[in-house]
Amino acid sequence: MTALRIATLFPLATVAAGDEANAAALVRRAAARGLTTTTATVHRPGAMAPAEVYLLGGTGRSGTGALVAALWAVDLPARVAAGAVVLAVDAGLDALARSWVDPAGREQAGLGLLGVQVGPGPRITDTVATRAAGELPAMVGWVAHDVTTRRDPGVLALCQVERGQAHGPLEDDGVLAERIIATRLHGPVLALNPELADLVLARAVPGLPPAPVPPEAARARAQRLDEVRAAPQSRRRRR
């Protein structure tokens, strides 16, 4: 059996938010089904590692331009068209959008893989609780950004937001497309929410059997969900 290849793309291009740990979370969920995996971290287009699953992440606007350029250099759109699956977190979502906003507030072109326009917004740092729907339970993560995210008509959100600020004043988060799953949630989001890792895996390897969520991860998530639900609705944390 060939191993499922997972590649984290250009993590040093963007401001760190812990998203590099999403690769290990995918590996654990694959291993729970007896799937073997290989992982790679790609820092330069010249050292591209072909993979079935690509992971993007990071926060802030300052690195998105470099990330977009690097993703064009490895022709990510062609790789997605050929069947690759992408998880895009925050700055990764910006890079895949039709447009994003640079540090000076100017609109810039993204890869256009998502029917999304990103614009300037209020600065938000908060813990987010999402609503259970479909294969996803209530999830938890944190957001830190100063943008708004507008989906084109017909583009599906990944999930609804119960508490916290995901896209600013909006009440949903991310994008669920055929080959791309995008979210504003850090955490690392796949470590705190193994079912989202399962959703990413299922896009690459259809027909995966269910696997139990480790009780430790379930407990850590339940604690944060309880806290954010107990907090006053209007409270915004500024960390």
Partner: protein, 416 residues
């Protein structure tokens, strides 16, 4: 000894700041040091420069290890006289101002400075030595490492030629940022986390590593030979700091490699000021405690030392220190905003496999999840004393996030 004199406007600003600091203390808002300093700086922006004038100053910056190294620099400098120092770790301009305002007589200063405020601190204090420890990505403020390196590069280009930069030759990012510094002294300071330094900041190629040596195949930049380095010395925890003039050996109360490496930085820095290494070395070796950081706490035959960790590099270094010394660890993690445990997930906790790790604190559930993901079983304890009693008697390293460190520094200091 003469007090450092300030002009009337700065004196009035300092008085206003002191009053505000007392008010802030009275209101129970922290130590008051930051608020007082902030008000004084707003009233007279030149106050910091006036308070620093006439002192021989060593600045210490970097992402990790600033407070410890600054304390060791202060100890080393004391061989030459009394030293002003921001020992509480208040390392932004307002905190530095407060520390200098509290000690107007010392003619020497050892100052820790937040990496983001280096330009202001250098301009105000005109340091004779600037210690640069490392450059890791930071997770709390959303400031990119690239922006910090560009800032440092601009500082280096304008440094006075009398200032010696004491830099970590094992960190290629630090080396690049301070290429233009007129005087450079190299310390083999180690790099506990290489992921952030994967790419050459000059040309974008990936660095090639051979042990601690690094090389850029793109532009040919390479690790400078160190002037100061650490090697094992006599005794189980002995160390020897080697330098052009010979070697100094001893032991440090600071655990792990942090102690001897910090000593090497400190001795190199005070060497740049002409303080003899021998006397300084004795004082550095005697440091047992840095603002409560390494003070051992005794709990039922366990000797606990706390480590405060804020990024993957810090966690990785602490895990390595525990493994090298074969000392058991306790994880103590408290609640601290949305990102409070994010940086733990990338750290190599799988290196702790082999036993059950006691965890404690309001975020013990997260610590348990991080350990489970790394294949390490954990056991949650209601408090730190119970967690320590779960370890065999002897030395224990307590790996803490920031709020757990602050809490345990207080609660373990008093008898139960």
């Amino acid at each position: 000894m003469d007090r450092v004199r300030v002009r009337p406007r700065a004196a009035a600003a300092l008085a206003a700041g002191r009053a505000a600091g007392r008010l802030s203390q009275a209101l129970g808002r922290g130590s008051g040091s930051i608020i007082g300093g902030r008000i004084a700086l707003r009233a007279a922006p030149s106050a910091l420069a006036e308070l620093a004038a006439g002192r021989r100053t060593v600045l210490v910056t970097g992402t990790n290890g600033k407070s410890t190294t600054t304390a060791l620099v202060a100890a080393a400098l004391e061989a030459a006289g009394p030293v002003a120092c921001n020992r509480t770790g208040a390392n932004m301009p307002d905190g530095i101002l407060t520390a200098l305002a509290a000690d107007r007589t010392s003619r020497l200063a050892a100052i820790e400075v937040d990496e983001v405020y280096l330009r202001e601190a250098v301009a105000a204090t005109a340091p004779e030595a600037l210690v640069v420890l490392n450059a890791y990505r930071e997770y709390t403020r959303g400031i990119s490492l690239a922006a910090t390196l560009e800032h440092w590069r601009a500082v280096a280009e304008r440094l006075d030629e009398r200032c010696t930069v004491v830099l970590n030759v094992d960190d290629p990012l630090v080396c690049w940022a301070f290429e233009a510094a007129p005087r450079r002294v190299g310390v083999a300071g180690g790099l506990s986390w290489r992921d952030d330094a994967a790419l050459c900041p000059a040309c974008g190629e990936a660095h090639a590593w051979d042990g601690t040596a690094w090389h850029c195949p793109g532009c040919g930049r390479t690790r400078p030979a160190p002037d100061w380095w650490v090697a094992p010395g006599a005794g189980s925890d002995g160390w020897a700091v080697h330098h052009p003039g010979g070697a100094l050996s001893g032991s440090v109360g600071v655990p792990g490699r942090t102690g001897p490496v910090g000593a090497a930085f400190a001795l190199a820095a005070v060497g740049a000021l002409g303080v003899p290494a021998q006397g300084a070395g004795t004082r550095v070796g005697a440091v047992q405690d840095v603002d409560g950081r390494y003070r051992p706490f005794e709990v039922g035959g366990r000797i606990a030392r706390l480590l405060m960790l804020k990024n993957p590099a810090g966690w990785a270094e602490a895990i390595a220190a525990a493994r090298e010394a074969n000392v058991p660890v306790v994880l103590a993690v408290d609640r601290f905003g949305p990102k409070d445990t994010t940086t733990m997930w990338e750290a190599p906790f799988s290196q702790l496999a082999g036993g059950t790790v006691p965890v404690t604190g309001a975020r013990a559930a997260d610590a348990g999840a991080v350990l489970e993901a790394a294949g390490v079983p954990s056991a949650e304890h209601a408090d730190a004393r119970a967690a320590l009693r779960a370890c065999p008697p002897g030395e224990v390293l307590v790996l803490c996030n920031y709020p757990a460190f602050r809490r345990l520094s207080r609660t373990l200091a008093v008898a139960p």
